[in-house]
């Protein structure tokens, strides 16, 4: 299934082929990811769920190019990746903002690195700060912000330099429920607006079903693809209408059952 924009194939396709990741050597050797092949289409929103220790964060950092691939390949638009690149942007669970830079300076960092002229930098940064509802906080330092605000800065910072692919590592995991829901809705809106590929790591089944078009469920240790669930929800209604619908419950059950089989094996071990 290709996502098409007009007649063009959308950019930002991630192709993972026979991926393997091994940490350590000799007796310390542990296989984190094994024989994983998967494709995320350009502009698609995919969530990755799995029991803890299944290597889902490892997968994200491999796609980001932060970690070295043991064997197999990861390609973006058919071009195998070689280290980090500005075509991919990560939103970290712990925000990873530069504490010595203000909100504004955090958001402009990627643009500075890209050599964007100052005036243009400022207007782009302002656009994304407004997009995540942080206007008025431009001159604050990260320490002056709440967790939810920090994560919105993290999202704005990553959107600002316009990567084709957003890689999100349990970005709302540290936030409380109402805030998490608000940010999920904001993320859906942003995704609809800017049309990016999103790979979203979470351990929250409801979050995965609510947000994404497909959910990749991974096996536990070593991690590989267990099943993929297509989520074909009508998302035109309100959150309440969506999450209380029967189809939402069905998708949630499907994903949950598949995930639960994995957590069961974990308990037996």
């Amino acid at each position: 299934m290709w996502v098409r924009q007009g007649d063009q194939l959308m950019d930002g396709r991630v192709t993972i082929s026979e991926l393997e990741k091994v940490y350590g050597e000799g007796a310390e050797r542990t296989k984190a990811i094994e024989n994983l092949s998967f494709e995320v289409e350009g502009g698609e929103f995919v969530s990755v769920v799995g029991p803890s220790g299944c290597g889902k964060s490892t997968l994200l950092y491999l796609i980001a190019g932060f970690l070295d691939i043991t064997s197999g390949t990861i390609a973006v638009d058919d071009e195998p990746i070689d280290g980090p690149g500005t075509d991919r942007g990560v939103v970290f669970q712990d925000y990873a903002l530069f504490p010595w830079r203000t909100v504004f300076e955090n958001v402009t960092y990627g643009l500075e690195e890209d050599g964007v002229p100052k005036e243009e930098r400022q207007s782009i940064a302002q656009k994304y700060i407004d997009l995540v509802d942080l206007d008025g906080f431009e001159d604050k330092y990260p320490k002056e912000l709440s967790g939810g605000m920090k994560q919105r800065v993290g999202i704005a910072r990553t959107l600002a330099y316009e990567p084709k692919i957003l890689l999100m590592d349990e970005p709302f995991g540290a936030l409380d429920q109402p805030l998490r829901e608000a940010l999920q809705d904001q993320l859906r809106d942003i995704w609809a607006d800017v049309g990016k590929t999103i790979v979203f790591i979470t351990h929250d089944v409801e979050e995965a079903v609510y947000l994404s078009e497909r959910v990749l469920i991974m096996t536990r240790h070593p991690g590989t693809k267990k099943t993929v669930t297509e989520v074909d929800l009508d998302r035109s209604g309100t959150r309440e209408e969506i999450v209380t619908s029967d189809e939402f419950a069905d998708y949630k059950n499907t994903v949950w059952k598949s995930l639960h089989e994995e957590t069961q094996t974990e308990v037996k071990l």
Binding site: A64, F92, D94, Y141
Partner: protein, 263 residues
């Protein structure tokens, strides 16, 4: 040294509270000075322990005649250059060793070996190499201040959050730029801690060096006035350099707090 919670006075209107707090903070010193005044000439001979009133008179004299300033400026110059060089070299070494194995492997042995040496023990060596005077004093100040700055910046640069480095990488920062765009700013708070530790050490090292290897400076004045039995002048110079050191520490703390608004 003072913690925010110690000896707090509360429940007074703000301006009065500020004055009262200052008074309370200085009471112990006041008591000491008073006892000193009483002991001088009674318990201890005045010649050996001149009373504070005499010492204050001598300080005023030194300042009014301007005799002390040329020596004080020489001392401060030596501290400024020695400490400045140690900050420069200390940060480069600390961050360099933390982020590069070859640099660490090369310098580690020198730092491990020089760490336990009392730096003032090297004063005679400094005289041998550099002669009596400013260069020797600067070398001793430099060596004494180097380690706290290296250690603090090293530890901080080793512990820089990997996610910050990755964040910068994904936005296009090269490995070389990483040092001054991420590693250095992330390390600044601990560098400041290292400098804060080094400032008093600089004064200790300076006076030790000047006592032996100098014809100028406050340390030299302390020594010579002591040798000719002019104890009020000796005490006056001790008080002056102590006061200057105190102001330097406080001044640095103020500057640090202003630089580190983001922490």
């Amino acid at each position: 040294m003072r913690h925010a919670t110690s000896r707090r006075i509360e429940g007074l209107p703000a301006p009065i509270q500020g004055v009262a707090q200052t008074l309370v903070d200085w009471i112990p010193l006041g008591i000491l000075v008073l006892l000193w005044e009483l002991a001088s000439g009674t318990v201890v001979a005045e010649a050996v322990l001149p009373p504070p009133t005499t010492v204050v008179g001598e300080i005023v004299e030194l300042i009014v005649t301007g005799d002390v300033f040329s020596h004080l400026f020489i001392s401060l110059f030596r501290i400024g250059v020695g400490l400045g060089l140690s900050i420069l070299a200390g940060v480069l070494l600390g961050v360099g060793m933390a982020r590069s194995d070859p640099v660490e492997n090369f310098f580690d042995i020198f730092l491990s070996m020089t760490y336990p040496i009392p730096k003032t023990a090297l004063v005679p060596l400094a005289i041998l190499w550099l002669g009596v005077g400013t260069e020797a004093a600067i070398l001793i100040v430099f060596l004494a201040c180097l380690l706290p700055i290296v250690l603090n910046s090293y530890n901080a640069a080793v512990d820089v959050d990997q996610n910050l480095v990755w964040s910068a990488q994904m936005m296009g920062t090269s490995d070389r730029e990483m040092l001054y765009k991420v590693i250095f700013p992330a390390t600044v708070p601990e560098i400041m801690t290292g400098i804060r530790q080094a400032v008093p050490i600089a004064f200790i090292a300076l006076v030790s060096a000047e006592l032996i290897a100098s014809n100028q400076g406050i340390g030299y004045l302390i020594l010579t006035s002591g040798q000719i039995g002019n104890y009020p002048t000796m005490f006056a110079n001790i008080v002056i350099i102590s006061a200057v050191a105190f102001v330097a520490v406080r001044g640095f703390e103020e500057t640090r707090d202003r630089v580190l608004v983001w922490t």
